[in-house]
């Protein structure tokens, strides 16, 4: 592979992050929205304009002989109306697409061998920073003391995300977390949530990036410096300690054709589990292996918790064979009475033993939702504030609990809203696992009504 220069590495990063080629025109979208809003952030917007004119334009014109103009609407857009032969040749040589939206279609098979030094890699990533690198202050781990720079990709280009993540590893700037565009990542508890395709995020510690990476746009560097002032005590990303993963639902789209074959049909307990299966370097291999030896502890074949209106839940039950065949018996009770049944001997309600049933935490969250929703105290399907406060403030509220005759789903309803909570039984879970124990790709089959545990 012919070498590329550091300037070309930056431009290629920029084109892959935000470029779209149609005929002979290159348009690079800088999705700055709020961050670069002319009305709300005029000073920064001025800086961005300066970056385009004084930094990006000279690199593009001297490297590829391309002149640019820019427009500001919802996003910032840079336009080059004449793609030169030099750029076309480089795109061919780097095995990059010659048309369409790059980040949806590009793979880095030709680019990676051309990024021969760390400086090339840094400049390539700098191109991604200026396009898909988000420096919103809300990107943080747990609290403001750990600030994040988030690289955000839409679509289904899993390979691109994997390759970019591995470039970060090779720069000794490992991603703090990768959020994959997969139902286990975007809808870990709700089996029926359809809008889970929210994209990918490669989240990198800002302290690490400032230490190891580079910036071309001054506005981005200033924003990074400002955010990094919020770091308190945490300077660099240490080897992560992975918390035991929560239970993941077997999502309806687990086998969606949209997912790459490599991961289709698999159940993923944690983003690091995903990384391992997909080929992103992981530093905590042994810890995740411990979880993989007992996968039954970390999934629920039914929905963990699904919330909605009574009609929405009716529809789900009618379409899900094992729920449709289940017989429910109703009981009416108060929140106060339900809370009285919470005890420390078991984490479950209505099971056959203390080790099976419907998880108390989900049941209580479900009740909080059906109380809060009609009061307008929800954001989407999340209750505003602490769910325990909602329960304690509505102790006399009457609720309908429909207990199934089989270990499928518990239904709780009040005020026109309803919820489903999945049955947990690790012995039953074991019977559904179709992959061998310890295998990195866990596969689980859907339960049938007939085999569901009698309650």
């Amino acid at each position: 592979m012919r070498k590329i220069t550091t300037d070309k590495a930056y431009i290629i990063g920029l084109i892959i992050g935000g470029g779209r080629i149609d005929n002979n025109t290159l348009q690079i979208t800088l999705p700055y929205k709020k961050w670069g809003d002319l009305a709300f952030e005029p000073e920064r917007a001025g800086g961005i304009a300066g970056d385009i004119l004084m930094r990006l334009n000279p690199i593009l014109s001297t490297t590829y002989g391309m002149e640019t103009s820019y427009t500001i609407s919802k996003d910032w857009k840079i336009r080059c109306t004449q793609i030169t032969e030099t750029l076309k040749k480089d795109l061919v040589q780097l095995a990059l697409p010659s048309s369409g939206e790059m980040r949806l279609n590009a793979n880095l098979k030709g680019v990676i061998p051309a990024l021969k030094s760390d400086e090339h890699k840094k400049r390539f990533i700098a191109g991604l920073v200026d396009t898909v690198g988000s420096l919103a202050k809300s990107h943080r781990r747990f609290n403001d003391a750990f600030q994040i720079i988030s690289f955000e990709f839409k679509g289904d280009n899993f390979e691109l995300v994997k390759d970019v993540a591995n470039i970060f590893h090779s720069l000794e700037c490992p991603p703090d977390q990768i959020l994959w565009n997969h139902p286990n990542q975007h809808s870990g508890t709700d089996r029926y949530y359809r809008s889970w395709k929210k994209g990918f995020k490669i989240r990198v510690s800002l302290a690490d990036y400032i230490f190891k990476g580079s910036f071309v746009f001054e506005s981005k560097k200033l924003s990074a410096t400002e955010n990094s002032k919020q770091h308190k005590g945490v300077t660099r990303n240490k080897k992560q300690i992975i918390q035991e993963p929560g239970r993941i639902t077997l999502h309806k789209d687990q086998n969606a054709q949209w997912l790459p074959e490599k991961i289709r049909g698999g159940l993923y307990l944690h983003n690091i589990h995903f990384n391992g299966v997909f080929g992103v370097k992981i530093e905590t291999d042994t810890i995740i292996k411990n979880f993989l030896c007992q996968p039954e502890k970390y999934f629920c074949p039914f929905t963990c918790l699904t919330k909605g209106t009574r009609e929405e839940i009716d529809k789900i039950i009618n379409l899900e064979e094992y729920l449709k065949q289940t017989t429910y018996h109703s009981l009416y009770t108060s929140v106060n009475h339900l809370l009285d049944q919470v005890n420390s001997d078991s984490n479950y309600f209505y099971g056959n033993t203390p080790k099976d049933g419907f998880p108390q935490n989900y049941v209580l969250q479900a009740v909080a939702y059906i109380i809060a929703a009609p009061q307008g105290k929800t954001r989407g399907k999340k209750v505003s504030g602490n769910y325990k406060d909602i329960l304690n403030n509505n102790l006399t509220q009457q609720i309908q609990i429909q207990i199934p005759d089989r270990g499928t789903c518990l239904r709780i309803t009040a005020n026109g809203f309803s919820t489903l909570i999945g049955y947990v039984n690790e012995e039953f879970n074991k019977t559904l696992i179709t992959s061998s124990i310890g295998s990195s790709k866990i596969t689980v089959r859907e339960p049938t009504f007939i085999e569901c545990v009698k309650l």
């Binding site: 550091t6 930094r55 001297t62 400086e119 910036f215 071309v216 001054e218």
Partner: protein
């Protein structure tokens, strides 16, 4: 405390060495790149005295060259051919660059016989007027001399050091437009 021009030399030279090393053909491991700060001939002699195995041509140059106090010089030597080039970087921290700064760099290049020189201003680009002068007469930054029957071509570029991003930025002024362009040219010259 406000940084003076000299306070930037270290960070600029680090980035320049990075850029040179990255843009030289890395498959060929025979290039040596060093940054030298201050007086050029003694810096070269010190480098050699400290164990750097310089080729014959560079050794001779280190003895014969004039005592010039340069801000930053980048030495690139091809160990295979024994050829070398020194690029002079004249650093300024002024509101806008003008003819006096350019003249100083041209003078250094002519005296030292360095073929390439880059004028770098810290955090400020070139003024429109200066740019017009440079672009109006290309020969101002592309000078050819005849010495002892040999043509020596000196090319000058004008760039900016961004102290916030720690990057060299381009102004499109002068005959050397970018660092990769400069490095590619040197690579050919010493091959």
């Amino acid at each position: 405390m406000r940084k003076k021009e000299i306070d930037y030399y270290e960070e600029i030279s680090v980035e320049l060495v990075n850029q040179f090393k990255s843009n030289l053909d890395l498959d060929d491991q025979h290039y040596s790149v060093y940054s030298l700060i201050g007086e050029i001939s003694s810096s070269l002699r010190t480098l050699i005295a400290n164990g750097y195995k310089a080729g014959k041509a560079l050794k001779e140059y280190s003895i014969q060259s004039h005592r010039l106090y340069l801000d930053i010089s980048i030495l690139v030597e091809n160990k295979k051919t024994g050829k070398f080039e020194i690029v002079i970087f004249e650093i300024k921290k002024v509101k806008s660059l003008g003819l006096s700064e350019l003249s100083q760099l041209i003078g250094y290049c002519l005296v030292s016989k360095a073929k390439n020189g880059i004028l770098i201003n810290i955090d400020k680009s070139v003024s429109g007027e200066f740019s017009t002068i440079i672009e109006g007469d290309k020969n101002l930054t592309d000078i050819t001399r005849l010495i002892d029957g040999q043509h020596i071509n000196h090319q000058i570029g004008i760039m900016v050091w961004n102290s916030k991003t720690h990057q060299v930025e381009y102004t499109n002024s002068g005959s050397l437009k970018t660092l990769p362009q400069l490095i590619e040219k040197i690579e050919k010259e010493i091959s």
